[in-house]
Symmetry: C2
């Protein structure tokens, strides 16, 4: 069983969905898709006159401020347009897709941090009613029920927090926790790069393999934003996911090529001792 995360950047649009659909239609193995929607979310927010508000915390972390109308825009972009267009494309290729948010069936829950403090446009701000949140629990029962009955779940943030409030959670984290909960053979992250790059500005600097049995060396080789991704991948492998692949979502046959080694593969290279 594979968990396939399709990034929400502008580079993987509706043409990209068709590439995934054509590729996945030939698959025999069950799979779960988790997708983002950031490009559509930003475009809708801009059209609605709500440009993204970015807040930088004291520690330098940049977050997007999500008030209630912005959460509505997120629901519309992620759960409405992206989820249903992707499901329609997958179904048109013969895949028995079912689109869900992580709110549905209690798939993911977390807590919000309603007050966001930080710097916006050089000024200190205290912004209330933030709908950003942290993923705390994943309940894979609904996803497993669908898989066991021949459906391919297609999931998206947001998740739910107490009081019935949707929260903006990280889609990569959602995919990872689901892969662990389901004991996936593979967790594939597709975005608009060929994989993890030693030099972000150079697409030819692809790192082919990362050995999860030597985490210190793996992390030493990672730089900048890559550290978080490598840490997450190492964690997934430690928790039983067969392998984690970072690969290009802009190309034809993206899943087949990723599984054939075209991206960055993180796995334990140690050969298992032969059984007696």
């Amino acid at each position: 069983m594979l968990v396939i995360k399709i990034g929400g950047g502008a580079a993987i649009g509706e043409g990209g969905y068709a590439n995934f659909a054509a590729d996945l239609a030939a698959f025999q193995e069950p799979f779960v898709v988790v997708h983002g929607g950031n490009a559509e979310f930003s475009e809708l927010s801009r059209k609605l006159g709500m440009p993204p508000r970015m807040i930088e915390s004291a520690s330098g972390r940049v977050s997007r401020y999500t008030d209630a109308p912005t959460m509505d825009a997120m629901l519309m972009a992620y759960c409405g347009k992206v989820n249903k267009r992707l499901v329609a494309t997958l179904r048109d290729h013969g895949i028995n897709a079912v689109g869900l948010s992580a709110i549905d069936g209690g798939i993911a829950a977390g807590r919000r941090k309603p007050v966001l403090r930080g710097i916006e446009d050089g000024k200190t701000k205290v912004l209330r009613d933030d709908h950003a949140g942290t993923l705390e629990t994943v309940d894979a029962r609904l996803v497993r029920l669908l898989l066991d009955n021949g459906y391919q779940p297609v999931l998206t943030p947001p998740a739910l927090s107490p009081g019935g409030v949707p929260i903006n959670i990280d889609g990569d984290k959602l995919a990872l926790e689901l892969a662990v909960a389901l004991g996936a053979d593979g967790l594939l992250f597709f975005s608009d790069t060929p994989g993890l790059l030693a030099n972000r500005a150079d697409e030819t600097s692809l790192i082919r393999d990362i050995d999860a049995s030597d985490p210190a060396a793996a992390l030493a080789a990672a730089a900048g934003r890559m550290v978080v991704k490598v840490e997450a991948a190492l964690g997934a492998v430690q928790h039983g996911v067969g392998r984690v692949i970072f690969a290009d979502g802009r190309i034809e046959a993206p899943v087949t090529r990723a599984l054939a080694g075209a991206g960055t593969t993180v796995r334990t290279s140690a050969v298992a001792p032969a059984s007696a």
Copy 2:
């Protein structure tokens, strides 16, 4: 098992969802919710600079023209904002809700009529790429799987047509076909009136009961737009739905009050012969 259609008019907003959630939380019986989203759809379309385009056919039927960007707005309003806000509210009241469009899992399929001819603003028009459609088939397997496993499905248009194209179908029709497919004990339509009115301008002219065993008399009593609703209700009862109720969705405990007789109830009044 009940099928509960919640209309998408402006009068049943998020406050209305809480009324339904509080009422349904006390229910022991399984149920399916089907909802509309027309008020949200119109508001979003207006905000995006795409006001509704209404076309009148030669026979006088008024349709809304739905091109691809308008379909995206429909997906965003119905499947994004309304579906997920409603599911979040239901879940917050302890209901194990799962939100789906009729695209998901092949719940509803139909055909589009891509060319729309008629009068717009007094001029004859031929509009292409229309995403309006006619519901042709309902597949209740996914809905039944969810019900059998303790989930309460929350469904919304659109449906899917060949080629992976979402189509705008009538939500009342979707609810009705599902109720028939599931053999529902009751099909409840909630909108912003107390039920079917003998005089549309007078809310006190409520028709309490319609006897489905005398369809000619039932239709003779109906006038104007009510004819379509009465015909649909009679058809549902003929096809095995226990009773059809048209009731007020703007009040507290809307389901409990509808089942207690507060709206218009369509059913067969004939007493079944005692078994030997």
